[in-house]
Symmetry: C2
């Protein structure tokens, strides 16, 4: 499994829009203890309100990696960004990127990394080989966040739930399956970049045998209702063998994002489909609640929605940003 | 999509066991018109009863490729096999292999191929990049073979069905998704070797828009009941958008092969699960029958089994080797 060198320096290039810096904000919010500071160009308008450190200063303070926390337009790294990343390599930092464009496609970065004996880490492209899944039941407990669609809070919910369990003194580990999650956790497996035959095998490796009361809180990917990504979702579901799922949903979406011909099913049907498929590798799988991205609802609409869905499904309904996830943890830990 | 140069010379090394030469026999039986002959070492005990041709002779007769039709012990190509393959490259043939071991890992073969401007084709490892699936409904018709497990006749059934449709004058194309199928068809996509995010997208590319009455007969992969490979199966199912499925099954198996903790579900439940999942991308999906690998049943047991399952499910039940697949074609073409 890919392991990153913490702590981090976060790099913002010359970002003007906060929305281009989701990775950097996510890291600041979810692993603040692993972030020493930020670095950017003079032209940048975005700041994380963290200490400003040049790569050499960060290295002197013990930084292990500089993270490209900004998405460049068109996926190409501008020359002056490469200047900064080369300086970071010269200072002894690994450079870590979740972009589609590979760091290793830039010869000057490759040469600088070789010269200094540090790494260019393309999180999307760094999976080692994994074995085929065995289907063997593992010790320890697992909860997986699943979704009615992509990009509606599966990572956020898993992080919030792992943090909530930790707060209660429950042994819990967040298991990352996507690029930002991997940067936050410092390790993980980029499921979408795996060779298809090894999807479930990689998911098995991600949450290995553990003590009986330990919870792995696994970041979900995609959706079984997504016409492009359901295969990834199913491989992760089967290999994770979850004891519990949390269904993530955005009530503002009626169809899969960017696939207007693909309606999102009713919540009860979505839960039943996930449980039915999950039973293949864990017959005791259950749903412990819903995590709702309710940003499109005002306070009144949210209260009504929550009450209605809780009554309909008999399950706790949270929005991590509004209510926290205590109710999900309660249900998860209930005997 | 990978396209091979036909016709073929089939290479058997110094095989002693027929069971090590499944690829060669499959090619002989399913694309005899594309096979010029066979070649092997003096020590070989297996023959395909085809004309014996040295690589240079085959090249003189117009051969495009030599196919490694034998699985070497431990996956390593013995030196004297490499001699033969190098001679084939020198004669101007592409060398095609479905082995895990890459032809490109043997420097002398790489050098010989470069020298002569011919190809080393590792069928398992040659997929070009594919786009993410669009979910857009395509023109033409599609039937996909699916299974209760791996390795129980999905390729064979698809080939037999494509041949039966052709015999009736129906425009039909066999679409290969595994290594042997690709060699038979001369083109295709090795689904198990794809990057996971592009599974459904590759399946869409495999069976593109076609005339309204044209049938793509798509070779299935894996099984949604397989704890390791279900993700591949689901991506192929979604991207294929099949109008029809044929369920392949071996009544001698009660659990997934090599996974004794994973029972094979009842046939009616298996069909319903495939149809339920398939409806995501084609609401009109239907099952047109079962293809049974009945090699473990004697004639009496097979007749009884067939009658019972046909009555139970109200669907035609075939064994391509015993009954042919006319009944499946009838149901497929019924208005």
């Amino acid at each position: 499994m890919l392991v990153l060198r913490k702590p981090y320096l976060l790099y913002l290039g010359d970002a003007v829009l906060k929305s281009d810096c989701k990775t950097a904000f996510g890291l600041r919010d979810w692993c603040r203890e692993s972030v020493l500071g930020e670095w950017s160009h003079a032209a940048a308008r975005v700041t994380l309100d963290l200490p400003r450190l040049a790569p050499a200063e960060a290295a002197a303070q013990g930084a292990g990696s500089i993270i490209v926390g900004v998405a460049p337009t068109g996926g190409v790294l501008p020359e002056h960004w490469q200047d900064d990343l080369e300086a970071a390599l010269e200072a002894g930092l690994d450079v870590v990127s979740g972009l589609h464009t590979r760091l290793t496609s830039f010869p000057r970065l490759v040469r600088a990394a070789e010269r200094r004996g540090v790494r260019l880490v393309d999180v999307r492209h760094m999976n080692p080989p994994f074995p085929v899944a065995t289907g063997r039941k593992r010790s320890g407990r697992r909860v997986l966040t699943v979704g009615t669609d992509c990009a509606l809070g599966k990572k956020y919910t898993a992080l919030a739930l792992a943090r909530e369990l930790g707060r209660r003194g429950v042994a819990a580990t967040f298991r990352a399956t996507g690029q930002t999650g991997i940067m936050i956790a410092g390790s993980g497996i980029a499921m979408d970049a795996l060779v298809a035959d090894f999807l479930a095998g990689a998911a098995e490796a991600l949450s290995p045998d553990a003590p009986p009361d330990h919870w792995d809180v696994i970041e979900g990917q995609g959706s079984i209702f997504h016409p492009a990504y359901a295969g990834v979702t199913l491989g992760l579901l089967h290999g994770s063998q979850p004891d519990a799922i949390v269904l993530c949903h955005d009530p503002d979406r009626t169809t899969i994002e960017e696939y207007p011909d693909y309606p999102i099913p009713p919540l009860a049907a979505a839960i039943e489909d996930y449980l039915h498929l999950g039973r293949l590798t864990n017959r005791a799988i259950r749903c412990v609640g819903l995590s709702i991205n309710s940003s499109a609802l005002d306070a009144t609409a949210w209260a009504a929605y929550r009450a209605r869905v809780e009554a309909e499904l008999g399950l706790p309904v949270c929005d991590p940003l509004r209510t926290g996830v205590a109710a999900l943890a309660d249900r998860l830990l209930a005997p």
